[in-house]
Symmetry: C2
């Protein structure tokens, strides 16, 4: 079923970026079947995505947020959208609780899609992104709204940084050394975190933050 709004226009040039060959094949199979969409390239890493976005000049980049081993899709998004005639970036993610959702949006992503989306949703989101409109999965949009409705659950940058190190298993002393702070400051940040999350110890804070997607998984 071809969209009525672009029956005879040039097809949407699409770049796929995902570290899983299987997922790339799935996206290609689903989207190449659409007559108004043409997959012009595939990237297996974040840096390759940035490079190909420049070389191939696609209309839309469909980018996985969970790139294997370190590289963040949000970073690549920022690099891609930094340029003047940049393609639209559509983020693809597994979890609607991802801590990097806001980061990706701020990095210039046009839309957000969950990996359990149907082929129809997928094609629709690509067309919406190509048209320059924002495409957000309902679950994600609701979560973003909720984030705004409850600013008390929003941790400050420093608080998140400290909590992340707690989640990595570090003691207050180790954290103070890692961040060049006194232990008093670390404790101060953590007390604020506990209050905001409604918990009273560090492991509960990590569990709560993980549930709410405030820290890395």
């Amino acid at each position: 079923m071809v969209s009525e709004t672009m029956t005879d226009r040039a097809p949407i040039r699409l770049l796929l970026a995902d570290d899983h060959p299987i997922v790339r094949s799935g996206l290609r199979a689903v989207l190449d079947a659409e007559p108004d969409i043409e997959v012009v390239g595939e990237a297996a890493t974040a840096s390759e995505a940035v490079r190909l976005a420049g070389e191939l000049a696609p209309d839309v980049v469909l980018m996985d947020l969970q790139f294997g081993s370190g590289s963040h899709g949000a970073d690549a998004t920022a690099q891609i959208t930094a340029r003047p005639d940049a393609p639209r970036v559509l983020i693809l993610t597994t979890y609607d609780t991802d801590a990097d959702i806001l980061a990706a949006i701020e990095a210039g992503a046009t839309g957000y899609l969950l990996k359990d989306a149907s082929p129809d949703d997928l094609a629709a989101a690509v067309r919406t992104a190509a048209a320059g409109r924002s495409a957000l999965a309902p679950a994600v949009a609701q979560r973003l709204m909720g984030r705004m409705r409850t600013p008390e659950a929003a941790l400050s940058r420093r608080e998140t940084e400290v909590l992340q190190l707690v989640a990595d298993g570090m003691s207050n002393q180790q954290i103070s050394r890692a961040l060049f702070l006194s232990q008093a400051t670390v404790k101060s940040h953590l007390v604020h975190v506990f209050t905001k999350l409604g918990v009273d110890n560090r492991t509960a804070a990590v569990a709560a933050a993980r549930r709410q997607g405030l820290i890395r998984r």
Copy 2:
């Protein structure tokens, strides 16, 4: 490139089980392209996988371990392999550190494959499974070996149970009440856990156990 060992035999009947339509499409696109493999069905849930495994009588079931919302691929594997003329079950997973690896193998899975596998790896694993031989991704096999080489990293059932509650954010007192134990016993278990994992506090233990896939993600 057709395998030399089965040039003219009936194709391998394959059932795909994954909750992501995109992944199913990718698997179908990759595997249907192989002349000796035929995808006979797709299941989006664990229970559907069990049902179709009975109805379609496939040779191999390619099953995702991370089925959305609760249902475990390991459980479905156990149900499928319980019957006498059961198909081979090939497990597909995103993480090579998954705590359920052993559970799935014990449930009767013939092989194990990571989602970042190449199409060639994938087809080869399906053929290996169809032939009844065990197909393990190198990273997974190595990890299983490592598990056996270092039994000190294997936590006892009770220790894992306590550590899981720690990861959920509970204090020693809360855990003691939840498990009908004294706090002394909880502490005792945790000290053993710390020793086995080589850490000296609860948050570090949770981080380490999470890395090694000893507890739920």
